[in-house]
Subunit: 298 residues, 2 copies
């Protein structure tokens, strides 16, 4: 069974693979790297891509941190252990074009003791404009990966993503979802540790290919109005990340490196008071599809 | 002693006074008004000013809501009462010019029973560029008002503002502070209900005059770089409001009208990865002054 060092090394390697793939996909920008240490134990490698051909601002974060579990997290996790180890890879990419979606991926491993550990993660897509053909393609790609590991994973983890990536105060999903899961272990899944590890690595190793297909419209022209709409949608992304996202909260609660945690925020975002798209527009159609339970693959 | 209806009416009147004053100060924009009802009891009047001469986006919100106290708030307040009544006026103004500060004001009255009630509120200033002469002037203005009600109020409520308007994860204050207070009543202050009511009304009624003085540089030219810095500082404002602000949290927890709660967010905000101003610039000087405990009036 993989131990925490092996998981850490493989995650680090996945960060490398993804960064190489994204530089090729972008064609212009190179990642800027910051290595950092966490005062209470561990550290990470933050890689940032800014002002590329495709990507306006994005980050691929690796971290492996350990130490004493803050009380606020102990209570949230409902565990008794005092020490923790956590490693993971986190990605958020904000493209220049409003016709290309925002994407997020995270894979993580958490260990409180030799017996108490779990995997978590997910990939979700936030199109500024929902294109139903592309949304279906994205979900089919995820289902293909999930099906290699367990026949129930796609349906379960797709529903989990609908619930998780939900902006409650707006009554809308962040985007078209994807897959999300947390605290997967040998007790609550039919898979063993190695099999679960393979599942999260499979997601990580296919991330660039999945996103590449979603950048189909990267060279299409777009209007000022579409750019404005993109900034408004990014405003919603900011709301989700600062109010609801557990990874952000975990980072803030464990005094993580703030610029690495908040690399998920877009370069520019906007809020207009009570903005409502006109009926029968692409913007209105997008809003109407930002809801739970859409069966994209069927 | 003032009862909740009298307090509500006076607060509503303060909203009118402020809106009239701000329209005059702006010289161009007129408030757009939305009246709204809260499903579980009460409602409000939201007034929004957009694309004025001075103000890019701002709101003056009045609300008077009542109903059953959600458990999450009951626990936060450490009270046993089940019903609540709350009325208040909230303001956030984002000016066009980076040389004019953002301002926030709130006055509120909260009642759980005839015996259990309190006043809260405050005014704080967030200059994109801290000008020490103007900062002193702002604090002297607040001290002058506070001193009319109790000799300790300015020093206590200034320190309270330093603690409250603090962006912990950035280790910086939101701006140059001002005054902040919560749960003031006859038990924890030497003032009676009427005197406390007069204090919060005095703040509300002097708000426009205080802000007008802070718009001294409204007609000065500014550069693209200063506009970019303004957007970065607005990003911090968004972080504070979505992560820490208790009024925002209270609104979300009580299912308030979301567009009224989030009217505090700026039209445009930005995040650049790990942005650091050059040494010996106005931007660096501003950052160095965003800390607790600056004795602005002395």
């Amino acid at each position: 069974m993989p131990n925490k060092n092996q998981i850490t090394e493989r995650f680090k390697h996945i960060q490398d693979t993804i960064c190489n793939g994204l530089e090729q996909l972008d064609g212009l920008a190179k990642f800027h790297e910051d290595k950092w240490n966490r005062e209470d134990g561990g550290g990470g490698i933050t890689r940032i891509l800014q002002e590329g051909n495709l990507i306006e601002k994005g980050g691929v974060n690796f971290s492996a941190v350990h130490g004493t579990l803050p009380d606020v997290i102990k209570n949230a996790f409902v565990v008794n252990e005092t020490n923790f180890f956590a490693t993971g890879v986190s990605i958020v990419l904000h493209p220049h074009s409003p016709l290309v979606p925002i994407i997020h991926m995270n894979i993580r491993y958490f260990e409180l003791s030799k017996q108490t550990w779990w995997f978590g993660g997910g990939i979700d897509l936030t199109p500024h404009y929902v294109n139903e053909r592309k949304a279906k393609e994205f979900h089919v790609d995820l289902k293909t990966i999930c099906d290699r590991h367990h026949q129930d994973f796609y349906s379960k983890h797709k529903a989990w993503a609908d619930d998780y990536f939900f902006i409650k105060h707006r009554n809308e999903t962040r985007g078209i979802g994807g897959v999300f899961f947390d605290r997967l272990n040998e007790q609550n899944t039919p898979l063993n540790k190695e099999q679960l590890f393979n599942y999260v690595c499979d997601l990580g190793e296919n991330f660039v290919d999945i996103y590449a297909k979603q950048t189909e419209f990267r060279n299409q022209p777009f209007s000022e109005e579409q750019k404005m709409w993109q900034h408004l949608r990014r405003g919603r992304y900011v709301e989700f990340n600062l109010i609801y996202d557990k990874g952000t909260k975990f980072g803030l609660d464990t005094s993580g490196r703030i610029e690495s945690i908040l690399m998920s925020l877009p370069k520019d975002a906007s809020w207009h008071y009570n903005y409502q798209p006109q009926p029968n527009t692409e913007e209105a159609k997008t809003l109407s599809l930002l809801k739970k339970g859409v069966g994209w693959v069927f």
